[in-house]
Structures are given as C-alpha cells and as structure tokens.
C-alpha cells in the first residue's frame, strides 16, 4: 500500500544589511530589519496564512486521512514570533489536529554538520526545544539544511536517537533504483532514509506554472495518474518541497491552491494509496536496500551537491572564518554574541555569494537581497570583522575582571608585603 509523504520546508533567514567598512566598530546592527519584516509580511499573506488555512481545511475534510509534515527553521520561528505571531498560531492549530508532524533540523538552517559536530548537536537540540515548546512534539525524523546528506550524517544522527532522515534521491547514487522505497545507509543499525522523489516533487514546486513544459497545464487528473502508476512498485512517494511553493513561488493565479484542494481526494480515489507523515512511513515500511552517499549530496541546483554554498573562494573563506571563531564565541558565554554568530551561519548568506550561472541570473539571484554575490561577500565579511572585534573586547574585559577578582581575593596588606619581597629579591 503506497503512502504519499508530504514534507514542506519553512525557512526565512535574517538577511544582513549593506554593512560598510565604516560601520566596523561603530554599529552592531547587522540585519536589514525592514527588509526582513517586509518579506515576512509578504510571504505570510501570500503563502503561510493561506496555505495553512487550506491544509487545516483539507485535514478536517478528510477526517485525519490527509497527513503532512513540516520542517520549520529556528530563524523562521523567531521571525514569526517577532513579526507575525498569527502565522505561528496557525501552525500551532495545525499541530493540534494530530495529523501534522514536525521534523528536526539545525536551528539556524546552517551547514554546521560539515564544520563542527559540537555546534551541529547544539543547534539540533536548540531546535528540538523550540518545536517542543510550540507544537508539543519531539521530532524523531531529521532533515539537514537543504537536504545536505552523506553516510556519516546518517550514522551520526542515528547515534543522536533519530529513527529516520530525509534526503534527496540523487540519480547518480540510486542508479536505476526507485526513490519510492525506504533505504538504509552503510554502517547504520536501524535508521531509515526517506528519499525525495524529485521528479514528482519538482513537477509541483518548479514546473507547475511553466508554460514551456510539455505537460503544462498540470491538472489534478494528470498528476494523480503519475502517482497511481507507482502502485505495485513502490511503498512511499516522498514529495518534499519549499512551503513557499504555494502562493509565493507559484502565485495564486496559477491555480496552485485549487490544485492542492483537489489533490488529496484524487490520490485517495485509488484504494491502495494513503497519506503518511515521515515517522509513520518509517514505522510502516522496511528499508529495502543500501543508499551509499559517500560524498555530500543536497537538493540544490542541478549538481545536487554543496556547490550552491561552497563552490567559490569567497564562500569558502566566509564559512571557514565563521567556524574558526567557534571556541572564542562560546568562551564569551554571552547570549547576544552566540545569537549573532548562530545567525551568521545561516546557509542563505553563502548562497547569495554563489557565482555559479551568475550571468544567466537564476534562482540564486531571485532569492538574493544583494546586487551581486560580491556585495554579499563584502558586507558579510565586514560584519564578521565587527563581530571579531567585539569578541576580542569581550575576552579582554573578562580577563581584566578575572585579574581584579583574584587581586581582590588577596588582602591588601599581603599584596604590599609580596611586592616588597619581590623588590628585595630583584635587587639582590
């Protein structure tokens, strides 16, 4: 009995502002507050509120048979708290239906797994806490930033107690095999892999309104047939996409909401098909084969690798610098500094610095708040420099305080005596 497994990614970064060299040491305001608020407002109106309302309606209409999952980054939740509590409330209402699962991810949507396991673990735990707080769930399925994945991650995340992990179904690893089964990683015990069916996912996420596509327009009937054709040769169809697909990437005028409205009923016309959340899929089906991802894979760009964030020297330098100060940041033991550093890890900053296909102007450009990847790098490094200065000042102060504390712990008379003795020793 094949199950449709929907997972939607909800993420917003704290975009940085045009922070010039002259701001270093002067201003600690790094983020473009206005832009972040505007984008959040726009996406809230066009996508989050509308789609959440639709999802709630569908769950109620199908009396628990329509089931979905979300992964909401910590930075997105913070922005909901700050700008749009109504959106957060609508997610809570969805959680209360019992038909919605929330996945685990790194709090600031970071690439920390690649650079620091310690930071990775901290962010996953921090994210779990905020999910528990708002949705009263403890995630058991993990999804890494932009579906970045390899064998090591599967083993590591299993060690942290997770039962499943979602990743891209990359052709070069699958070969002729189907993504519509659960897989396992080499050197893991039980953890199961849910592979994204990128064709069926992208038919909705990217091609839905593409007039150049030969299948345009995509009707529910057509899509239903594609899904149903899996019957007998698959156990789960993993449809993973950005939540902003609904209403933001695909505008309401494309008919995306009407498509969504009719899809669950159409799919369940076939008696063998149902909807399951990722953890339900993991519980229901066995892993059928080994999926050996020795190198990192992701769901980004054609390459499905790390090149969206780490292909040029600017990205690599920015990333290397950021993780090089981890120890210093943590030694400061200051929530503000830690928070700033955490937000600067957000993968989007590095995505904006990408120069791949820059001349063609592609999705990178669509999402970037900057005029060019060079600007993105320049402003980022200026901010980084300011953060470095602050950390230095902080540590210096901490040292001074410590010396003072030690001094104060010794009585004045003793200190003077020690001084005299030292002088005598030096003189002799």
């Amino acid at each position: 009995m094949p199950s449709i497994c929907f997972y939607f990614q909800v993420h917003q970064p704290f975009r940085i502002r045009n922070y010039s060299f002259f701001d270093i040491g002067t201003s600690h305001i790094y983020e473009d507050e206005q832009k972040n608020r505007e984008i959040m407002d726009k996406v809230a109106e066009k996508c989050y509120l509308k789609t959440n309302r639709k999802m709630l309606e569908l769950i109620q209409r199908h009396q628990g048979k329509f089931r979905i999952s979300y992964s909401i980054s910590g930075t997105a939740i913070e922005q909901f708290e700050k700008y749009r509590p109504d959106v957060l409330q609508s997610f809570i209402e969805l959680a209360n239906t019992g038909c919605v699962e929330f996945l685990s991810e790194t709090y600031s949507h970071s690439l920390s797994f690649i650079y620091s396991k310690e930071e990775f673990r901290r962010q996953v735990q921090k994210h779990a806490e905020v999910i528990k707080k708002y949705f009263n769930q403890t995630p058991t399925v993990f999804r890494n930033t932009e579906l970045i994945f390899n064998n090591e991650l599967a083993a590591y995340i299993e060690d942290m107690g997770f039962k499943g992990i979602v990743c891209e179904g990359v052709d070069r690893i699958l070969g002729t095999r189907s993504p519509n089964f659960l897989y396992r990683s080499p050197n893991t015990k039980e953890i199961k892999l849910l592979l994204k069916n990128y064709r069926l996912s992208d038919d909705i996420a990217f091609r839905f309104s593409d007039r150049g596509w030969k299948e345009f327009p995509l009707t529910v009937d057509k899509y239903k047939q594609w899904v149903h054709s899996i019957a007998g040769n698959g156990e789960c169809v993993n449809l993973f996409m950005d939540y902003e697909t609904f209403g933001e990437h695909q505008w309401e005028s494309t008919g995306i909401f009407s498509f969504l409205d009719h899809l669950p009923a159409a799919i369940m016309e076939h008696p063998d098909f149902d909807f399951k959340t990722p953890s339900e899929v993991v519980a229901a089906y066995p892993a059928r084969d080994v999926y050996d991802a020795h190198d990192f894979t992701s769901w980004a760009d054609m390459e499905r690798d790390l090149s969206a964030w780490l292909s040029n020297s600017m990205q690599q330098e920015a990333m290397k610098q950021i993780y090089s100060i981890e120890k210093d940041v943590k030694e400061c033991n200051n929530p503000e500094i830690l928070n700033v550093w955490e937000r600067l890890q957000t993968s989007d900053h590095y995505y904006y610095m990408c120069t791949k296909f820059w001349n063609d102007g592609d999705v990178h450009k669509y999402f970037s708040p900057f005029d060019s990847p060079y600007d993105a790098y320049l402003y980022f490094m200026n901010i980084y420099s300011d953060l470095e200065c602050r950390i230095k000042a902080f540590k210096k102060k901490a040292r001074r305080d410590l010396v003072k504390q030690l001094k104060d712990s010794v009585p004045r008379a003793e200190r003077i005596e020690a001084k005299i003795v030292r002088k005598q020793v030096l003189q002799s």
Binding site: F21, F22, I24, M314, E317, Y374, Y377, C389
Partner: protein, 418 residues
C-alpha cells in the same frame, strides 16, 4: 588652455591637477580654459572658464570639420581607455551607428554625459572642431593642452593660428594599458607630441616613458612636477584596534591593486593585527574580493567602494601607513595627500611622486617582500615612522602649485613663447 576633466566633474587626479594648476597660473598669466562641460555654479576668479556645452554651435562662425596635418586611421573597435566601473567590461562602440564612418551629423550643442563614455573618441573630435572655431576669435600666445583628450584640439588650433603648442602630460596610454599598448589613442599621443613644441610631463618617470615608448627627443621635454593644495589634516580615533594600511585609487591594472593584496598577505603572515583598506572602484573590484578570499585574508582586507571626499579624508585620518604600489604612475597625488595627513608612505619607484617625496619608503612595484617589510617596520618602529613623516612634511613645502606654475611660465620663456 584646453582641459577635459574639470571640477565639479572629476574622475581622478587629472581634474584636480588641471584646476589647481590653472588657478595658480592665473596669478601669472591670463588664462582662458575651454572644457567640455561646465557648471553654472562653478566659477573661478582671474580666469575665463568656457564650457562648450553652453555654446549654441550655430552661433559660432567658421565651425567646420577641418583636416588634420597628419593621418590617423580610425577603425571601429572598442577603444575606450577607461573601464566602466559597473560591469568591469569596457563600454563598447556601436559600430553600426556610423560613429567612425565620417558622416558625423553636426549637432546643435555639444552634449557629454560621461567624460570617458563609450563614444569618447567621437566627443574628442567634436571638442576639437568646436574649440578650434572658438579659438579663431581669440587672442592668445600659447596653446596649453592637457592629455590626449584635448590634443586634437591643440593641434587644430596650432594649425590655424601658428601659435606654439604645449602639451601637458598627466597620463599616457602606456601607463594605463601597459608599455606594449598601441592603438588610436597611442597614435594620437605620438603624433600629437611630435607636433607639439613643448612637452611638460608631470615627472621624470613620465618623461622617460615619452622618450622610450614614443621615440620623442628629450630636448622638447621640460618636467614640471605637480603641486598640492594645503589640506587641513586631522586625526580620528579608529573604531577598531588593528592598525590600518590604506590604498586609494582606481582598482585597475595600472594602480597595482593585486600587488597591494600580495603585500597585505605577506604583512599578515608576520602581523595578523593589521587591516588593509582599498578605497576606490574599478574593473579589478570583483577579482580583488575573490583573490583576498583565496589568500584567506577576507577578514583583514576591506573594499570600501567609491568614497566622497569627506569619507576619504576620514579614512586618511585613521590610517597608519599609505601604500601606493602603482605599476606605472605619472605622479600620484594621493600619496601627497597621505603625507599631508602625517601618514608615512610606502610607494612604488614607478611613480612620479617618488621623485619629490624623499620622505617615503620606496620599492619596485614587483618587490612585494620589500614593501611588506617596509610596512611592518613602519608599524612597529616609532623612530623610523617619525623620521619618515618629518622628512615628508619638509618635502611638502616644495610641492606646491605656485612652484609648478612658476616653472611652467619659465619653460615658456626659455622656449621664447612669451
């Protein structure tokens, strides 16, 4: 006097030099300065400033397109000597628009948006024709042209008036594009300098270039170094701890931005607590960012982009060393400005300013190790620093526009132009 860049429209050092020099000379001579574009708000005392954008062309007599005394082949090619800042690519001519086909329509007024836009050569030709017509009604003793943009005009005026032609050389094609560069601008420079009666390069360095790369006799050359206006300098408190090394200039091959990066990387190997700041824009902007990240000094290497004068002066006021690694720099006024702010300068020997600023540390532009060593010494050795700054401040007394103006008049007299 024939100028191209002039306040308030300034691209680089040329506009400043033309303004300051003509202003000093106006104390010694009557000057009519003809420039492509003037602003009604900008006036100068003792000087007749004519912007040809303000002239109704149908009102001037004798306005025609005259022939040159020598032939310059024009080909429809991308000849813009200055790169556009935005794309990093040079603006290109529209070959099909007939700019070079000889059937230029006579315009009603002269209109120029960007002094070095894609149609700069067309504008240079128009400027020459209009200026020559204007000059035919004027009384003067000497024609003084600044750089290749006004050479054609100077040549035409000499042709029709027979008056001596002086060419003031602030920058050459071989500075901008390398010693091997040839093309329309180079040809114009060569023929123009051959045709001129006196050449005034701004340094011995440029005089050598004129002799070596244009084959022109030394006897026609009289070097007059640039001067500098007195700037009220000040110091500001840095907002960060690290010492600061400054570069100011267009980010283009001629100015050696890549050398600055190499020097920075070398200095940071020994002393990580230094910041390197590049103020300016140019076609090397993007590659500077990429290369600084390759060298893993992205957190110590900052680009500010284009800065106005106020910001620039602030930058001088917080800097500890000024570094000018130019590959070929006829003068280099920015180093003088740095010296005025009491900043020790580390400058390349391939610059004119090196000849007059003995209070500076010098290196061949390719000698990254030496430059880095000099910077490290200046940052760590207060005695050396003090000595260099003091010497430079003595030099400054001899770097004035009044002295330059006097020398030019003397050179005129020596050639018996006046």
């Amino acid at each position: 006097m024939l100028g191209w860049e002039f306040p308030p429209i300034i691209n680089g050092g040329l506009g400043v030099a033309c303004h300051d020099l003509s202003s000093a000379m106006s104390e010694l001579a009557d000057i009519t300065m003809i420039i492509p574009k003037s602003s009604p708000d900008f006036k100068m005392k003792n000087m007749n400033l004519v912007g040809i954008n303000t002239i109704d062309l149908s009102s001037i007599e004798n306005y025609s397109e005259s022939k040159l005394p020598f032939e310059l082949k024009t080909i429809p090619a991308d000849l813009n000597p200055y790169y556009s800042e935005k794309s990093g690519e040079s603006a290109s001519f529209n070959a099909s628009s007939g700019i070079f086909s000889g059937d230029r329509n006579t315009p009603k007024t002269f209109d120029i948006d960007h002094l070095y836009g894609g149609d700069v050569i067309n504008k240079v030709m128009q400027y020459a024709d209009i200026t020559a017509s204007l000059a035919s009604k004027m009384d003067f003793d000497v024609i003084h042209a600044h750089d290749w943009m006004t050479m054609l005009a100077g040549i035409k005026i000499k042709q029709q008036s027979g008056k001596p032609l002086v060419m003031h050389i602030h920058s050459l094609e071989v500075d901008r594009s390398g010693v091997g560069s040839r093309g329309w601008v180079y040809d114009l420079e060569k023929k123009g300098m051959e045709y001129a009666d006196l050449l005034i390069p701004v340094s011995n360095f440029t005089a050598d270039n004129i002799c070596n790369h244009y084959g022109i006799s030394r006897s026609k050359i009289s070097v007059v170094h640039n001067g500098s206006n007195i700037v009220k300098s000040f110091r500001s408190k840095r907002k960060f701890k690290e010492k600061t090394v400054l570069f100011v200039g267009r980010l283009t091959r001629q100015k050696g931005p890549e050398k600055f990066l190499d020097i920075a990387a070398k200095v940071l190997e020994s002393n990580p607590d230094v910041r390197f700041v590049m103020a300016g824009v140019g076609d090397y902007f993007k590659s500077m960012l990429e290369k600084s990240s390759y060298q893993h000094i992205g957190n110590r290497f900052h680009l500010t982009g284009f800065l106005n004068q106020e910001k620039l002066r602030y930058l001088f006021s917080i800097s500890d060393v000024y570094c000018m690694p130019s590959i070929s720099e006829p003068f280099g006024l920015s180093a003088v400005e740095a010296a005025q702010f009491g900043i020790p300068c580390v400058i390349s020997k391939q610059s004119g300013v090196a000849e007059v600023l003995s209070g500076s540390l010098k290196f061949d532009f390719w000698d990254v190790n030496k430059a880095a060593g000099s910077i490290l010494n200046l940052l760590s050795d207060p005695v050396l620093r003090k000595k260099v700054v003091e010497d430079a401040s003595k030099n400054l007394n001899n770097i004035t526009w009044d002295i330059s103006a006097r020398k030019i008049i003397d050179a005129y007299a020596a050639k018996q132009f006046i």
